[in-house]
Symmetry: C2
Subunit: 137 residues, 2 copies
């Protein structure tokens, strides 16, 4: 059996997301780590109610696939979108956006980063409470 078979993805460590780039409590797990031969990195992120990442963008774009709970995805200048399990979002390279749980629900999604060697994310300012509340409107 290959080495991968003895390291089921379920046992990958869940790391607390940095307060530098996140408001509230969130955990990220690497489902497919950097350096793998597809150059595509896949993380799994769970946000507690009220938690969200900062405004940010991805040099090579990103795909989100929601697996649990409910949360928001918002691009700069656009209305927030409520996402549910099964929903998939394709985020174009360089588009500034944020995502996170609603104020009352958990939110889990896969985060798929193709061509990760171009860089994973460029981080910006936190989502203010006003911006966050507006998403719920």
């Amino acid at each position: 059996m290959s080495e991968q078979a003895n390291n089921p993805t379920a046992l990958a460590e869940a790391k607390r997301a940095s307060a530098e780039n996140f408001t509230g409590v969130a955990f990220a797990t690497l489902a497919v780590p950097p350096g793998n031969p597809t150059d595509c990195v896949v993380g799994n992120v769970t946000f507690e109610p009220g938690a969200r990442n900062n405004w940010h963008s991805h040099p090579a774009g990103q795909i989100l696939i929601v697996t649990n709970g409910a949360g928001y995805y918002q691009e700069k200048g656009q209305p927030a979108r409520l996402l549910r399990p099964g929903d998939a979002v394709s985020i174009a390279p360089g588009v500034v956006h944020w995502h996170g749980a609603t104020a009352t629900t958990l939110f889990t999604h896969y985060a798929i980063n193709p061509n990760a060697s171009q860089g994973i994310a460029d981080w910006d300012e936190p989502v203010t409470d006003e911006e966050y509340q507006a998403a719920h409107a």
Copy 2:
């Protein structure tokens, strides 16, 4: 709201996988279609018990993430690996392999194809009954 919000991924059509490339009954749904700005295509595939795809490879590699049931993933010349929900597999460009349900279980996984414009898959021969049974050994 953007156009995407009115077309939840859950409503994407499930198409029967072609008998040209699959043995048994399988369905594929496009979660993230070709032509999106990440150039990464994401499908969701469900195999009935006994169903599997042919030997094949991907020009730009592929990532599998299992969401339901149990199935096998096997690279040419390697033992088959039993995959369970949550498992992720990174498949290098050009590596010949197959995947499918076990003889007694359903199997569902996301299939993530980065740099899809390089081509999605190069198909080969069906997995013989002998090869398939050997996976269960």
